[in-house]
Amino acid sequence: MDYKGDIYYIEQVLAGKNNAFGYIVDQHKNNAFNLAFRICGNHEEAEELAQDSFLKAYRALNSFKMKSSFATWFYRIVYNTTISHVRLKKKGVLSLEDFPADATDFIGTNTNEEEAEKEYRNSLVNFALQKITEEERGLISLYYYEDMSTDEIADVTGISKSNIKVRLFRARKKMQEIIEKTEKKKLIYHE
């Protein structure tokens, strides 16, 4: 079934058809889960946080202004819910030694070398993400995974556009250093 757009289903929910919210959940669940996961770094917590965000959105649906983008409004909920959770429960970060040294470590029973390389890079990104602050993780996720502009990120996070540019630059720099350091370690490992 074709998705008829957020506004259509929101109006259905507001008219009393609660089941219409299921279409909204289906449409946004992966992005919500991904954003929560990139910030908190744990699948179980990300699932709970994404669910919690959908419930918050459902409860506050009356306050949503139809003129604005539902995705932006909803990502704001996911971002704030996850950031608050991580701040409350600061976790210990992984050490560089914890990271697998080679893409071959990611080859499972059903993955080929190319997929293993993708998995390796993805895990390296997750690893680097855990080394930066939760706020920076949110900005990186919104910018790279959700492909949002700095204007849109400002809408979601409530941080000024100029501040976002500065923080994104710092976050990128930190992640770059972590990735380079890990890659160097990988070369030493091979020698």
Binding site: N18, N19, F21, G22, V25, D26, K29, N30, N31, A32, F33, N34, F37, R38, H43, A46, E47, A50, Q51, F54, L55, Y58, R59, K118, R121, N122, L124, V125, I140, Y144, Y145, D147, F169, R172, K173, M175, Q176, I179
Partner: protein, 138 residues
């Protein structure tokens, strides 16, 4: 954006693949919808009971106040507002028989007041009966 920054950003893009998003686990939508269905159900019994007990308390208080006011109203023409009310009620001509309770309660209530109290009592009983009939499902 300087060249170094572009270089760094591009290098990060090499690692970050927007296609590699973490997907929500199976059954995610149904879990959310189950919670929503639970939220849509009526409030828990404890809360409704509290609300239910709140209404009769208010009505009982108002009734007690009215009765107390009736007892405390002085039979004195100098008390402007109360005497006005008393005079009005005394002057009301009703076709119902006069009820004289002065010998029983030592009261000088106009008979209209007695009918008013009787009316309130009957309406309260009706209200309770109707409440039990129409709110039984809750």
């Amino acid at each position: 954006m300087n060249s170094q920054e572009i270089y760094k950003e591009d290098l990060l893009r090499k690692y970050i693949d927007p296609e590699m998003i973490e997907e929500a686990p199976k059954g995610f939508t149904s879990k959310v919808m189950t919670q929503i269905q639970l939220e849509s159900k009526p409030l828990p019994v404890t809360q409704t009971l509290r609300e239910k007990s709140f209404v009769p308390v208010i009505s009982a208080s108002v009734t007690v106040l009215l009765i107390a006011a009736a007892f405390l109203i002085p039979d004195n023409k100098s008390a402007s507002l109360t005497s006005l009310f008393l005079n009005l009620s005394k002057n009301l001509k009703i076709s119902l028989p006069e009820v004289d309770l002065s010998s029983v309660f030592r009261l000088t209530l106009p008979s209209v007041m007695i009918y008013v109290f009787l009316g309130i009592l009957i309406l309260t009983l009706f209200d309770r009966a109707l409440y039990h009939i129409f709110h039984r499902e809750k």
